[in-house]
Symmetry: C2
């Protein structure tokens, strides 16, 4: 206890009276791997500390909220500390496994001072800790105006961290890998590679923030169930190695959120694992979310899809009907001849999907408004019920249905969110009318209402509202450019996926995504929920339609296949053009075969930013699929297939990098070999530089 006292004095900068010591409560996780201590100092300020496997991972750190006219930060006395526990196994509608155990002990640390009351609600899991602030109803109706969150995370060493800058409006940045003390967002501010980016602090980074301690422990600070609040970012202090919570503000920079009592914040989550592979199986964020709110989920179907999309990125066609993507088509309103979302072209994609077992076809550029939409921050740009004259909604609806293919509607809002909200009901009713079961939303550009941010309370509520409203219309949702997910797909399982990170599209028109990018995403962004990354580009050099184009994908083709397993999503695009797939039907076979819903998932190996290998069992079937990817370094891996069912034989088809494959020099060769395997057999994989290996293991 003496050591603790010294630490608290040092960290919190305040002295502990005997009274304060009495306030200290300890919460242990069910398996006792994780412990949380919480207490008050002499000033009645709350602090907490987390240990994992006997080592302190978050040392004494401040808790509290600042709100106008309220005191949720100091002068507190402990009213009560109520313990509880919970053990439940629940079944997600879809997911990386068919059942998830939610097992924790909890503590409600109830505080009050002369004016206010607040509960800090902790849950301790064997692989992490969640806590949130809860504010009870008052006798008189009341609201709180949150101006700051005081939560801190005192790290105990200068861990390696994978981070993107704390940007109010974008999460589409390339990751940096530094020590905590090396965090510095200045290069991002200087480069301004994202048009809408808004980065204001040199030491501020986004969550989930994943770190590796010297002993291999992986710590990720995240949030769960982000509702009615600004997104949580973290500001590092490079000297003390302490992170302070930073909430994205409302349109008033001094206001972080306004909430009606009773209210609780989203959960603050600290994910804890012995190694990187363990982090890939950590479901703490999902467990901290509310159970499914939808009574009927029978209409929710994970799927693969192709779509009228990549061809516009690579210059084969245009989103707009009468121009060439730069607002030059307004005058005469006549077709340019380059419009991609035509009835005929869409039918080609429908045919392709039907032939190859892809469930859906996304069509972008189908609706009027694309001539003058980008970066204008104006309303009433798009109609979500009016198609261009060359796109026959009724005929395509009929045609798709006749082929057993679902059309996925596209709603680019241009971030004129007010406009979109006005059209939501009519847009979803229109989708119902024409049998579209899914929508891809987009939020490109600065937000309207002006002054609001992609990651602020107003938009956070909007995304949830869209999830609720689409559910009402039995529409599945794929949100692009939203705030990063925080596990809300447990509560709204129609919310299949988000982009909310730097996706494949950057390879079509920017310096692209470095080879390590897909080796970081599963440990950071994807901890919060599935990403619609749009893998599967076979034409690595994207100059197919424009010889001057220098952009390219920074992987081998085999790695593109492996992404279907390593980047989990219930919605996976086969993003390349049908004609590119038709040139390589042997390779495309893996995309035909790979499912999008799983009974079980196992990380066979992993090192953040370097490599990972996932094995997953197809939902309701005995088949397994393996994806293995590496960064710019070639690697050899050997695995024992000890997860297969004993006594069964399987046909494994291995799609591996060709002998001289290299993501820059020779990305195309894919060597395909078949072999019969049984439980316990060993497989050896050779991955090229930024290469990969995809394996289907089909039960005989």
């Amino acid at each position: 206890m003496k050591k603790f006292l010294v630490l608290l004095l040092f960290i919190a900068g305040s002295s502990l009276s005997v009274y304060a010591q009495k306030t200290i409560k300890t919460l242990l996780s069910p398996g006792k791997t994780t412990s949380v201590k919480v207490g008050l100092n002499k000033s009645g300020e709350a602090f907490y500390k987390i240990t994992y496997n006997g080592a302190t991972v978050v040392d004494w750190s401040r808790l509290g909220i600042e709100a106008r006219g309220h005191n949720f930060s100091s002068g507190f006395k402990l009213v009560s500390a109520e313990a509880g526990s919970h053990d439940e196994t629940w079944k997600p509608v879809w997911g990386e496994e068919s059942q998830i155990r939610d097992h924790y002990n909890e503590l409600r640390y109830r505080l009050a001072n002369e004016t206010d009351a607040m509960t800090i609600h902790f849950r301790a899991y064997d692989n992490g800790v969640g806590f949130r602030y809860e504010f009870p109803a008052k006798e008189k109706a009341d609201n709180i105006t949150v101006t700051n969150e005081l939560t801190e995370f005192q790290m105990t060493a200068d861990h390696t961290a994978w981070w993107i800058p704390g940007d109010y409006d974008s999460n589409e940045h390339v990751y940096s890998t530094t020590s905590i003390s090396g965090i510095n967002t200045a290069p991002y501010m200087a480069e301004k590679s994202i048009v809408t980016q808004h980065i204001v602090d040199t030491y501020n980074v986004q969550t989930p923030l994943t770190m590796r301690a010297a002993n291999g422990t992986h710590i990720s600070i995240a949030e769960a169930a982000l509702v009615d609040f600004g997104a949580l970012h973290l500001t590092a202090d490079p000297k003390t190695l302490k992170f302070k919570a930073f909430l994205i503000s409302t349109s008033d920079p001094a206001v972080k959120s306004v909430n009606t009592l009773p209210f609780h914040t989203p959960w603050r989550a600290v994910l804890l694992n012995r190694d990187a592979a363990g982090l890939l199986g950590n479901r703490l964020i999902l467990n901290l979310n509310e159970p499914c709110k939808l009574s009927d989920v029978s209409w929710i179907k994970p799927m693969k899809y192709c779509g009228v999309w990549w061809e516009m990125h690579v210059g084969k066609g245009t989103w707009d009907y009468s121009g060439s993507q730069n607002g030059d088509g307004f005058k005469n309103g006549q077709p340019s001849g380059k419009h991609s979302a035509t009835t005929a072209n869409t039918k080609k994609y429908i045919d392709f999907a039907a032939k190859n077992g892809l469930g859906g076809v996304l069509v972008e550029g189908w609706n009027i408004g694309w001539e003058n939409w980008f970066n204008q921050q104006k309303e009433e740009v798009f109609s979500f019920t009016k198609a261009y004259p060359d796109y026959d909604v009724a005929e395509l609806s009929r045609y798709a249905e006749s082929k057993g293919v679902k059309l996925i509607m596209h709603h680019e809002t241009s971030s004129a969110v007010t406009s979109y909200e006005r059209q939501m009901d009519s847009a979803y009713a229109f989708m119902n009318q024409y049998g579209y079961p899914a929508v891809k939303t987009g939020y490109v550009g600065k937000i309207i209402p002006k002054g609001e941010w992609h990651d602020g309370q107003w938009m956070v509520n909007h995304y949830v509202r869209v999830a609720e409203r689409t559910a009402k219309y039995r529409v599945m949702l794929d949100a692009h450019e939203p705030v990063r997910p925080s596990g809300l797909h447990r509560t709204y399982p129609n919310w299949l996926a988000c982009e909310a990170s730097r996706g494949q599209e950057f390879n079509a028109w920017s310096k692209g995504n470095p080879p390590e990018h897909e080796c970081i995403l599963p440990f950071t962004r994807i901890l919060g929920g599935p990403m619609d990354y749009t893998p599967g580009i076979f034409q690595i050099e994207v100059n197919q339609f424009d010889p001057n184009k220098k952009e390219r994908v920074h992987t081998t083709v085999a790695k593109q296949l492996a992404l279907y397993v390593t980047l989990y999503s219930p919605l996976q695009m086969a993003a390349d053009l049908p004609e590119n797939y038709e040139k390589r039907p042997d390779v495309f076979q893996f995309i035909r075969d790979v499912p999008v819903d799983w009974d079980e998932s196992r990380a066979l190996n992993a090192s953040v930013g370097d490599y990972l290998t996932m094995a997953r069992k197809e939902k309701g079937k005995p088949n397994w699929f393996i994806g293995s990817i590496t960064d710019e370094n070639p690697r050899d891996f050997t695995f024992k297939l000890d997860f297969l069912e004993a006594g069964k034989t399987y046909e494994a088809t291995i799609y591996e990098d060709g002998p001289d494959a290299h993501y820059e020099k020779n990305p195309y060769p894919v060597n395909i070999r078949k072999t019969t395997v049984r439980k316990g057999d060993t497989l050896r994989l050779r991955l090229a530089a930024s290469g990969g290996c995809a394996i289907s293991i089909m039960a005989n």
Copy 2:
């Protein structure tokens, strides 16, 4: 011409070359009473001048718009000046007369400079001038960001003006009467009588701004067809007597509006009449609006109504279910027993309406949200589809229908307009489901989206959107706290009325409306469109339920009756409580009889701020109704009934102030007398201090 040249040099402060003189074009109204001259100075800046009956009423004044990256203000050359004329008689769906003549000559003054093109479109009427700025489409899609309007109105003498301060968020001010040079809004800024007021300029006033010249000419500067633009205010220069246009900004103070080309501004209108009575018959604002956009108007029905409303203002009941109007009812959610919008109470109003031929019953406080709504600037306060537990929507729908009465729904948005827009479709569908043909909207408090203003472009577009969306659902609209109307009810005749000024309600909880108030409204605010003033308060002292209440109505009862004729609206409330009307059935008979739609209207006399007398013929019937009101001064008037049909006899019922009536000392006595009248008969009216006289003249 020499005199003109000197004037132009003086006023515009720039010299006219021979070239500039060649640019001067003159437009005469059909009857030649009004002329407009327009020309360019040496710098290619546009100016105009208006004469009326041979006298200059607007001397050479600047024209132009400032927009980012564009030049719509100088360096112009005259491309062409195209003349035209128009003479049409159109029939409003409802109105002060059954047909309106739209007769004008027009001039399109087409300008171009090195970068931009603009047309200034003038229309000259015998009773005024309209002009607007028109911007053509460009070859490439484009938007303009308007930062300032340069339009000026150079008055030629220090006229008497009736004005309210230029407030971004409210038009509910008491009028001031001063010379132009005496305009000073500082007292309003100091008093802060309106919670949401935002007045920032000492010399800035709202339109319509009505002025009286020494020769009796009445000049009113207004705007027509306010769509997709900030509202027009005017900033006076007390030295030069020049008004400069001032547009209410967007949430960015430097931006007045963002518009997509092609675009035109609303019309700037200068109404011109020889006297105040003439101004009451001036339909310039309506004529400048677009024709009706609705294909079917059969469902649009002017009506009188009563409602569950005034009783909350005077303290008999509450809007909220579980509290007492101050947010104290949140905790237990139990009924306070004071809630007014109950099923039983609403049935009383329905019975009263049915018995007295009132078409509708408004019910406020029927929906959940009133416990914590006021001045919070937060979203999701009200549901527009969920009633309080003591308000049975289905039963009341059935009951009202059985009585032949229509229910008017109330939608208080608390200015959380984003919330309202999300609910519009479901709210109007709910109204359709339960047979509500009309809605009263409310915009109390600061606007969400935060930073937007009641009178800025965003909200201007919202009000129009609500008119369009309600029309789609065949719902009639009465908007409270919107921007002041600008004649859009011609285009959207389901938009029956607006509050948009200081209504009767101020008499219930403030210093109230001075006796002259209702003698100013018809010459200012109501020029733009009908006002839902809610006349008809019989219980002048509002301390009926609270002896401590000192507030009162500042008229006699007879004046309250006369307001049904003097304050034109197709939607007129009988605002007092049924029990107060039932005490005076003889007096109430006038409210039973008076119609709300007219074939013809005549101002028999008028003096702005002093008195006015209107005679109106009931639509489709031979009956006439007269209303006469005065300010704090008693007056005697004598009229010849020369508008009656020759040969017919009529029974006139005269509701006049009792012999000793006085709005403060003795407001209640109403003397009712009946007499048979014929065309050419003379009537003598005696009006008490802030008194009035109402007459029904029913054909035998």
